[in-house]
Amino acid sequence: MSLSQALSAAISGLQVNQAGLALVAANVANADTPGYIRKTVTQVATAGNGTGISVYMSGVQRELDTYIQSQLRTENSGASYATTRSQALDQLQDVYGTPGSANTLESVYNTFTNSLQALQSSPDDSAARSAVISAAQLLTQQLNQSSNSIQALRGNAELGISSAVTQANDAMTQIAALNQKIAAAGSGNTDSATATLLDQRDSYVDQLSQLMDVKVIKGDNNQISVFTNSGIQLVGTKASQLSFDAQGTIGAGSLWNSDPDKRGVGTLTLVSPTGGSVDLIQSHSIRSGAIAAYLQLRDQDLVQAQNQLDGIASAMASALSDKTTAGDPVTSGLQNGFQVDISGLSAGNKITVNYTDSLTNTAHTITMERVDDPSVLPLANDAAASPNNKVVGIDFSGGMSSVMAQITQALGGTGMVASNPSGNTLQVLDDGAGNICDVTSLTTTKTATTLSSGDVQVPFFTDGTSSYTGAITAQGAQSVGLAGRISVNSALLADPSKLVAFAPGTAVGDSTRPDFLFSQLTSGNMQFSADTGIGTAGQPYSGSISTFLRQVVSAQGETASAASNLKDGQDVVLSSLQQRFNDSSSVNVDQEMANLLTLQNAYAANARVLSTVKQMFDTLIQM
């Protein structure tokens, strides 16, 4: 032991105190810096010569709870997903309007049916007719506008993905770069500079975790690798890059497809540093975060919302224009069946055969749909919304004999026999004595194309300027995006008297057609496709347009409300995790001030030792 030892111990104490003071200053200064982790000095006592004791600052400690940090990142992805989706669905709610106000889809629809009620009681009143036309226009405009809004939201999602991809690429590049810098600093005790680099890298990982779900694996030398939860590596020693081919215009028909030729929206590709690439949408690799929310919105939620509007639009058009004619019963020997005229079918119109399989006593339906674009053949069974259904496309271009051959093929294996007794008549008979099947009905559904055909059906709504028949073409089903194009038949706009005059010479006071229109819109039973998200393929939703509208509003409200609840829940989880994280890792000014006092005292004490040693030296020297 010597005075000089005490002196050097005091000096080392002063040095450590100063370093501690510097960290307190840095902590207080960064108290509000996002991502800043509280630093403390790691000090170690050293012994020299077996007796001397000094203090040494071994490094800077980041007060980080990695367990909470990884939890926080998972919840960060979840919260970001929930928030993004909830915000977009909130915007979607605006499309459906404020309940009780005049601009909701339901109230516009009700205004339309109401105007038809007025027309029912005053078919001769030209004001009542105009009111029906303008209410119908209002309805189509509302549908058009809603459809546009939905597609605009999809466009926003597309742009959202695009900018998220840019952010993600930036974050991944930075993480890789910081990985290298940290590696260069070497292992061992971290100094203040390295700690700052770690802070920065954590902050970029946090950013990335908001965009997608990530998993961080810690390696040697403070290195990290970032993976998606699905196991695809995003950052190793080098960063992968995401690429996204955002599409400028998005319409109802622009849908994601694994086939690039059929794809109307952008797809997300990850290009690894070695050049390999993987389609992240196809492999369902992104499961959370803002990008997953945008994808969910663009490809599921909003597509479904559009399908629902299209379902309403096509049901409205078909309900008013489609005439279903039941076949006449015929008997030939032991065979029973029906005859029906199949001329005048438009593309998309249907011939429906209902039969019972006598062996299992099961009811079946075969729907034969006219198709003018043979490239779409054969049709899928879900092309028509009806259960237990077999859908067959029939190409009419080859004349009656070709049509009969196709129908015979369609009925093949059922035991039913199709024939063409004369002209355009289709005859379908059961198998007679064999009794393995019974034909229960044979009907045709044809779309009225003129305003005064003598039938009450009227092509009230059109698809832009062409008539709506539900045709399926290479561009897809006509119903897709119909809500954005539906309009009131221009011929009807030009001559509203056709709302009443269903045949030449119909009396002006004849309410037959208004009665039909009203009853079809309020109580006509329609079937809605399962891709509206209401009903299932096995049991499609069937009901009036009004009740379907109710289901739509209900389902959308429920989705938005559930998304909002999820967001609220995530927010709570995230806040409390953040709080816990902050408690352990962020700067508490009080604590720093207390440290400051301690350091001050320690400094004073060390200084006192120094001054005492000096006095002792003085005493020693003056002897």
């Binding site: 009780g100 109401n114 006071g509 009740t547 429920e558 409390s576 902050n582 009080d590």
Partner: protein
């Protein structure tokens, strides 16, 4: 997302504050709009119900306005029907009056004047409009139900009216000699023959001849055209014995003419003097028959002819123009021919159809309830009225003709009977009953709707709306909580060791 940017200890506290502020804003919105939420999402599980309720309420209000419209129309129709009944009574009274006033009275012409003005009124009533809608035209609500009174009576240019048809038919029924298309000839000094001049629908049709004149033999009527014989050879009629001829008339009624034997040398109408010889008796009888037939021709036959012509005229519509006498010449015509819309006025101008007239206007007043309240002016009930009143107005009755009074009486009798209609025929009262039934249904529906609307509206309000008291209370409570929270947050921020460090 949480507020990580603010760092520090307060993430949860600040998130809570933000949330409370949002809640506060929402409560304020609820209070000012009275609506629970501005989106369907915020309405809760019952959001779908609101769509159904709104649809139901909207339909209900649609039904109510339908009822209102229909009610207005039915009320107007009821008023018209009521007035028609009054008018009918007036005409009937005028006819009774005409029959009871003296022979020189102005009764006949007064009755005709009443008929003329009544016809005007009834035509006016049948052309009642509600707004621009004609109520008695069936489905052709844009056209008047009937032509004008002037056209109906007097024709329209080259189109013949009722008077023209009556005139033609009268000529055809009376014949040139006024004997009602009968030939009355002596076949010998003591026998005579009465014969229809042709197998036409016109004039008197011989139905029967009976007598209790002692020794007088009658035979027939037989053959086509029918004829009958009266033989006085060897007869010794006594005073008071009679011979009765019965004729079938153009309007489907029958008319009897009874001649009574008298010893008076100055027989009054309907009597003949028993002659000294058979031949004298025959001569007297023939003269009496001829006089009687002539007189009946000017009265009963003329009236009957007018009724028949009127029946043809009013039993017509645009698809079915009236049957007219095939002429000229009319006095020798032997058949009827269908008129055309070019040569005859079609009195009913509304819609014709085979369906029920009531079904020409319907009001759907409930999802499953439709009431019918249409009417066509050519329904039997209306037609009976207008046809008989028009006939009364159209038949020319001369005030100077001695037969004028009898013609008037005959006509009034027929018209009074016809106006009452055959048992089972529709009357205006039946139509009014139908309409009253519709109105009753509508009243019941309105009451139902009122109740349902109130119930559904309450339900809707309970889903969409808010209770001001509840929101107000919540707002106050929230305000208190917010103030407390802000205060403590502020205190928390102020309480920092920094403030207490030695200066």
């Amino acid at each position: 997302m949480s507020v990580s940017a603010v760092g520090g200890q307060s993430a949860v506290a600040i998130a809570q504050l933000v949330k409370m502020r949002a809640q506060y804003d929402d409560l304020q919105r609820q209070l000012s709009t009275g609506q629970k939420s501005s989106t369907y999402a915020g309405l809760g599980l019952d959001r779908g119900v609101t769509v159904s309720l709104n649809a139901q309420l909207s339909q209900m209000s649609g039904y109510d306005s339908t009822i209102q419209t229909a009610n207005t129309r039915i009320s107007l129709m009821n008023t018209a029907l009521g007035q028609m009944t009054d008018i009918t009574s007036q005409v009937k009274a005028a006819m009774v009056q005409a029959n009871t006033t003296g022979s020189n009275g102005s009764g006949p012409s007064l009755a005709q004047q009443t008929a003329q003005s009544s016809l005007d009124q009834i035509i006016g009533l049948l052309n009642t409009q509600s707004g621009d809608r004609y109520l008695f035209s069936g489905k052709a609500t844009d056209t008047p139900a009937t032509d004008t009174t002037d056209h109906i009576l007097n024709g329209d240019g080259s189109k013949a009216g009722l008077k023209q048809l009556i005139s033609e038919r009268t000529q055809a029924d009376l014949g040139a000699d006024g004997l009602g298309r009968l030939a009355i000839n002596a076949t010998s000094t003591t026998s005579m023959n009465m014969a229809e001049d042709s197998a036409s629908p016109f004039g008197f049709k011989l139905a029967s001849v009976t007598t209790n004149l002692t020794g007088v033999n009658v035979a027939g009527p037989t053959g086509v055209p029918a004829s009958l014989d009266i033989d006085t050879t060897g007869s010794t009629p006594n005073d008071g014995e009679t011979l009765t001829l019965r004729f079938n008339m153009p309007d489907g009624t029958s008319q009897t003419m009874t001649l009574t034997a008298t010893t008076s040398t100055t027989p009054s109408a309907g009597q003949f003097t028993i002659g000294a010889t058979d031949a004298d008796t025959a001569t007297n009888l023939q003269a009496a028959i001829t006089a009687g037939v002539t007189s009946l021709g000017k009265t009963s036959l003329t009236a009957s002819s007018a009724v028949a012509a009127s029946n043809d005229f009013f039993d017509a519509d645009s698809g079915n123009p009236p049957m007219r006498v095939d002429g000229p010449p009319f006095d020798t015509a032997t058949g009827m021919v269908a008129g055309t819309t070019a040569n005859s006025v079609i009195w009913y101008t509304g819609e014709t159809g085979t369906d029920s007239a009531r079904a020409t206007a319907t009001a759907q007043i409930d999802p499953s309830l439709t009431v019918n309240y249409g009417a066509r002016a050519n329904e039997v009930g209306f037609r009976t009225l207008i046809q008989n009143i028009a006939t009364l107005a159209a038949v020319p009755i001369s005030g100077t003709d001695p037969n004028g009074r009898d013609l008037s009486t005959a006509l009034n009798q027929k018209l009074t009977v016809n106006m009452a209609g055959a048992p089972g025929d529709q009357t205006v009262t039946n139509i009014a009953t139908d309409l009253a039934g519709a109105q009753t249904s509508m009243q019941a529906a309105t009451a139902r709707h009122q109740q349902s609307t109130a119930t559904l509206g309450d339900f809707l309000q309970s889903i969409q709306g808010v209770s001001n008291e509840e929101v107000g209370t919540e707002l106050l409570a929230l305000q208190t909580r917010m103030q407390a929270s802000m205060q403590t947050t502020a205190m928390l921020f102020q309480t920092s060791l920094v403030n207490y460090l030695p200066k």
